[in-house]
């Protein structure tokens, strides 16, 4: 059994009378320590897939296993526990808490779990060692996204889920963020899933899962993933 298994997952939203099929019969697998890119146009079901994987959303039918745990069977406190201990989330718009300093934003996450990493060390690693006492509003977009990543990896999760992490950033900063994510995967051996609509960056991943109209259209395995530094787009 693979580390992560997405098996015949269907997701139907009901908007009043209308039913919208966000995911239909979606299946894929991810191995431990892999860097995975989920590619596809908007509305293809990428985010829904990530939300289900992260325990933020429920599915209509099918099964999702993470490290042997059946995520869709988790409810209530156990589901929260799963998000708390196993998942790190990074969003397009950072979602930092404006009223907390950089270090406090990270501490907010680390105080939750037992085997968390030291916030100062992680912030050093993401290159924000000297901005720890600033508030989010005093940082650039790239810096804020690094805080968000630091907050996510500080929890030492099994799975780092990133939804368009560079969507709001310029080319250069975006590249730096992707570098950080790639490094995290390679050096910390963390499983990282990145959603993007930019196919140009897919060579950096071990596995590329392509979405189209709510289901997986193709899965490509890169035998030799490139260093993001060497990719231009």
């Amino acid at each position: 059994m693979a580390y992560i298994e997405f098996k015949n997952v269907n997701k139907v939203y009901k908007m009043g009378e209308v039913e919208i099929k966000a995911l239909s019969n979606t299946s894929f697998e991810i191995e431990k320590g892999e860097l995975v890119c989920i590619l596809g146009p908007s509305g293809a079901g990428k985010t829904t897939c990530l939300n289900i994987l992260g325990g933020m959303d429920t599915l209509t039918s099918g099964n999702v296993y993470v490290d042997g745990k059946c995520v869709n069977k988790l409810t209530g406190k156990n589901l929260i526990k799963y998000r708390r201990n196993d998942i790190g989330f990074v969003f397009q718009f950072y979602n930092l808490i404006q009223n907390l300093t950089v270090i406090e934003n990270v501490e907010l996450a680390t105080q939750l779990c037992k085997n968390s990493l030291k916030p100062e060390e992680i912030l050093d690693k993401v290159g924000l060692g000297d901005r720890m006492n600033n508030f989010p509003a005093q940082l650039s977009g790239g810096e804020q996204q690094r805080v968000a990543i630091a907050r996510a990896i500080c929890k030492n999760p099994k799975l780092l889920l990133c939804d368009e992490p560079t969507g709001a950033l310029d080319y250069k900063t975006g590249k730096q963020i992707l570098k950080l994510l790639q490094d995290t995967c390679r050096l910390e051996h963390m499983t990282v899933v990145i959603i993007t609509h930019n196919s140009a960056i897919s060579p950096m991943a071990d596995k590329v899962i392509k979405f189209k109209n709510g289901s997986v259209s193709d899965i490509v395995i890169n035998e030799k993933p490139m260093n993001i530094k060497d990719i231009e787009w």
């Binding site: 929260i80 907010l108 996450a109």
Partner: protein
């Protein structure tokens, strides 16, 4: 464009129905309470006015010590402006029921004036029939159809009635029995016919069109009384001549004397006017604060909504809608909420609150009707303030928010930057705080406007609740204190002028039930300081040492200090008098006697006194001021005895004509207790209303808090905060704010209570300005209970926040 606008607004309401309802309920509560309390006093007056108009109740009553006749009626009828001048037969008589002797006032039925309201049964048809007040039947297990022996013959009770002259529990005094009428009854006029009328009742032209007791009405009455005064002496002289002839020496006979009364001299009428004044005064401050809090919270709510709609408005603007259109949307939205809520409030408030208050007063006043009225002048004022505040804010915030170009508006607002707070600079405290405490503290300083509103709202409600409890406390003990600590005597006997008072005093002092009788001069007098005038009772003891045994002159500031003398050339006044006249010890006041002579005297002591106003001077001072000191009353302290014994005593001395009248403090106390307990019930309503407001305010603010921080809360959920932890994160703030609010509310509430007392205290009462510890506890507890309820509701609201929805990339 127009239909689009209304479509937009309709959608807005549908989308934000919770907010719409909360705005609506705020307006409803605020305006409703305001309108309701304001309506009570006018409703009561209008009811009284209608009751009196419907029953042709007199405007002026003329009584003579020697009776009145048709000649008097004739000369009164000639006076310009008088409508009806009608003589009436009345008599006070004994009624024996079950070995108990009562005094009944029997009045002749007259269709032209002071008509009675038939509650049950029929009006008398023949001379052997009688109608009585219901209380008489209830007290004595009688029913309609029974016969009683009264006025020398058996009469069948054929109905129960309400007299417009005696609709409160207070009955007039009499020279029979114990000096007080027990019940009233009506028979046909024939039964009572005699040579003289007992009273002449007069109604004036046009007074029916005026509200009774209004300024206009009082002016007309004053004019009319002046007109009667012109013919009064002439009538009195003529009567004298008629009775005794001209030649006889005047001193040997009782001179005829006319007494003129208006409606205010009727106890029932006066009590209702006082009650109406009480509720009016009580309602001066309460609803205003109430109203203020409601408007403030609505305002914050509206502000939040416009900020939330930022992106949507940006889109509208980019589509070409102008600022006016967008602003109009919110103005109409808030207008709809406040107008609908306000109108509902006016209707519900103007009926419900007077209904409840009238039901409380019904125990005191037996009036079969009640008029509800929607008093537009008052309501409109509250209405406009409310609309102006809420719609005005909508305008201002819209204009402020729409200044930006559409492109910027469509982007999410740049979040307000976090800021370090002062406390962080004091690192030895900051370091010690737990992480979660730091967040809480910083958040409190971040959302200043909401936090301040919350604190102010909670403080306001707590203060209102405490003021309510404080008012209850302030009236709780005054009656007992007055009649056990200050006045130890039980009866005041006004003695006949002609007898030998020393002999009588001796006799009374030797009565078995009497502990001590003290002789005093007792009279009414006016005291002035500059333009301020107060009517007080002047008591001049004949011998201070014995007086001291029945009245304690307790220092108004120090309860342990009891004065054992009254200094020469100075006076002692009650605390309330000093307050109203604005004088302190050592100041001079002016006395004004009945003949308008004025005398200046120094205030030497100010004494505790809760009921009525008193002045004490010693005999020397009295003689040097007015001369000719004369004992006219006894203050009688009884030993432990039954009320029957006390009653027998009264009957004995009234019968022997030694006493003109006897006033029992226990009766005074009862009447007062009725009134105080009605104030008590009204205050209970105020407390309930304030508590309701507290709940709505807390609930609203908590909703605003959550909607403002949806994204933050969703982030916490994604990070894996447990439900309890999310609750804590939000509620820790609520709890701190509630505690702060309660503390501020409790400390300001006692001031508010004092202020309300100072505005609502009638001149003849002095409330204790004391708030009991328990009231503080209750007020805090009520607010805490509401906070807990709100926390529970918040728990579910937090649980329902959808992470995916709240964190969607574009707001």
């Amino acid at each position: 464009m127009k239909t689009m606008l209304f479509k937009h607004i309709f959608m807005k309401i549908k989308q934000n129905y919770k907010r719409f309802l909360s705005l609506l309920s705020m307006a409803l509560l605020g305006i409703g309470f305001y309108a309701g309390i304001e309506a009570c006093s006018p409703d009561m007056l209008k009811t009284l006015d209608k009751f009196y108009d419907d029953n042709n109740v007199y405007d002026i009553k003329v009584v003579s010590n020697l009776g009145l006749d048709d000649k008097d009626i004739n000369s009164l009828s000639k006076i310009d402006g008088f409508d009806k001048v009608i003589g009436s037969y009345e008599t006070d008589t004994y009624l024996k029921l079950d070995n108990e002797q009562y005094v009944v006032k029997v009045m002749g039925l007259n269709n032209n004036i002071n008509n009675i309201f038939l509650e049950d049964g029929n009006l008398p048809n023949g001379n052997n029939e009688i109608v009585v007040e219901k209380k008489m039947l209830l007290d004595n297990n009688l029913s309609i159809g029974d016969s009683i022996n009264i006025l020398g013959s058996n009469k069948k009770i054929v109905g129960t009635v309400i007299s417009p002259l005696y609709f409160s529990s207070e009955r007039p005094s009499t020279n029979l029995g114990s000096g007080k009428v027990n019940y009233y009854a009506y028979t046909l006029e024939d039964v009572l016919k005699s040579d003289y009328y007992s009273a002449i009742y007069i109604t004036l032209n046009n007074t029916k069109n005026m509200l009774t007791n209004s300024k206009e009405y009082k002016n007309v009455i004053d004019d009319a009384i002046n007109k009667i005064d012109v013919i009064k002496e002439e009538r009195e002289d003529e009567k004298y001549n008629e009775l005794y002839g001209i030649s006889i020496n005047e001193d040997e006979f009782v001179k005829p004397h006319w007494y003129l009364y208006d409606r205010l001299d009727n106890n029932s009428y006066k009590e209702l006017i006082n009650a109406s004044d009480n509720i009016k005064n009580l309602g001066n401050v309460f609803p205003l604060i109430f109203f203020g809090i409601a408007v403030l919270v609505s305002l914050i709510s509206m502000m939040r909504m416009i900020e939330e709609d930022r992106t949507e408005n940006g889109t509208l603007k980019s589509l070409g809608y102008n600022n006016f259109y967008i602003t109009l949307k919110y103005v109409i939205y808030s207008l709809l909420a406040t107008v609908i809520g306000g109108i509902l409030g006016v209707f519900i408030g103007s009926y419900l609150i007077p209904y409840v208050i009238w039901n409380i007063y019904k125990k005191l006043f037996n009036i079969p009707i009640f008029l509800y009225s929607i008093n537009s002048a008052y309501n409109m004022l509250g209405f406009w303030i409310c609309i102006l505040c809420i719609c005005g804010t909508a305008c201002v915030i819209c204009i402020y928010n729409l200044k930006d170009v559409p492109a910027n508006l469509m982007r999410p607002k740049v979040p307000k930057s976090g800021r370090k707070i002062l406390l962080e600079k004091i690192s030895f405290i900051w370091k010690r705080l737990k992480f979660s405490d730091k967040i809480t503290i910083r958040n409190i300083f971040r959302y200043k406007s909401r936090v301040l509103t919350t604190i102010f709202g909670i403080a306001g409600c707590t203060a209102l609740i405490l003021a309510g409890f404080g008012l209850k406390d302030s009236i709780k003990n005054i009656n007992d204190y007055q009649y056990s600590k200050i006045f130890k005597y039980d009866k005041m006997m006004i003695i006949s002028e002609n007898g030998d008072y020393e002999k009588l005093l001796n006799k009374i002092n030797n009565e078995e039930i009497v502990n001590k009788a003290v002789d005093v001069n007792y009279q009414s007098i006016s005291v002035l300081n500059g333009d301020i005038k107060q009517d007080v009772s002047l008591i001049v003891p004949n011998d201070f040492n014995s007086f001291n045994e029945v009245v304690s002159l307790i220092d108004y500031k120090n309860e342990d200090k009891i004065y054992d003398d009254i200094l020469d050339d100075s006076c002692v006044i009650s605390e309330k008098t000093a307050k109203l006249l604005n004088v302190s010890i050592g100041d001079d006041v002016t006395l004004l006697d009945n003949d308008n002579n004025s005398y200046t005297i120094k205030v030497s002591y100010i004494v505790k006194n809760y009921i009525n106003q008193y002045m004490y001077v010693n005999k020397n001072t009295y003689n040097s001021l007015f001369g000719n000191y004369k004992v006219n009353s006894f203050l009688i302290d009884l030993n432990e005895c039954t009320s029957d014994d006390s009653n027998d005593f009264d009957m004995e001395y009234i019968a022997s004509k030694d006493a003109i009248s006897i006033i029992n403090n226990s009766d005074v106390k009862d009447v007062l207790n009725d009134m105080l307990s009605s104030i008590d019930s009204i205050v209970a309503i105020l407390i309930i209303a304030a508590a309701m407001l507290a709940f709505v305010v807390l609930y609203n603010l908590s909703n605003i808090n959550i909607s403002e921080r949806k994204r933050e809360i969703a982030t916490l959920k994604v990070l894996g905060f447990y439900v309890k932890e999310v609750d804590k994160y939000i509620n820790r703030e609520t709890i701190i704010l509630t505690i702060l609010g309660i503390l501020i509310g409790l400390s300001s509430g006692s001031y508010l209570c004092h202020y309300i007392i100072s505005t609502c205290e009638p001149d003849y009462l002095m409330f204790d300005r004391e708030v009991f510890l328990l009231s503080y506890v209750f007020s805090a507890l009520i607010t805490i209970i509401f906070t807990i309820i709100v926390i529970v509701v918040t728990h579910f609201n937090l649980k329902n926040i959808d992470m995916v929805e709240s964190l969607k990339n574009v707001e």
